[in-house]
């Protein structure tokens, strides 16, 4: 599973990354988590505000940091 956390580095983006890492650890799954900061790369996914989370190519959330419950639901 490949997870992209998109955002240039503001507190909400950092929170999104932390939440994703916590959820992956809690779920006990193997996942490659990558931070994407370049807005050109972000825009390639049709994402126009951040933070955003992409799992295996599918954009799950845009414009807000997800809750851990949300992320755990996406990991199932």
């Amino acid at each position: 599973m490949k997870i992209l956390v998109m955002g240039p580095g503001c507190p909400k983006c950092e929170q999104a990354e932390k939440t994703v890492r916590d959820a992956v650890a809690e779920a006990g799954i193997a996942a490659d988590i990558e931070k994407v900061k370049d807005f050109q790369e972000i825009a390639k996914y049709g994402v126009f505000s951040t933070p955003a989370v992409v799992i295996d190519g599918e954009v799950k959330v845009v414009g807000k940091a997800p809750s851990k419950k949300d992320v755990l639901g996406w990991l199932k």
Partner: protein
Amino acid sequence: MSDCGCSCQAAPKFVFSCSGAADVGEVADQAARSVSREGTAKMFCLAGIGGRVSGIVKSTEAAQKVVAIDGCPLNCARRTLEEAGFTGFEHIQLDGLGFKKGETPATPENIQTVVRSVSEAFSK
């Protein structure tokens, strides 16, 4: 906005156009592009909504405001957004502005009339 210069708190405003094949579709399309160039809102891809491209759908869900422009009473742009589950967006139909399909060339004047209407919708 935070100091990092990111767009975290800047939910975008999106304008969608039917961009249909008829003259009124061309007017709608050109008006949306003009609004986008002026910076009032960003023109976004209606085909991405129809195709359920996840980034485009989720970005639209996160938008501050959405305006859809339809050239004719078939309302393809409005229907496309509604089929994807969107409600509460502003809708402009060129027929409502007195523009008839087959009788409305994409002149600068006609395009500007629609641009004004779209700008008004975003200022509400």
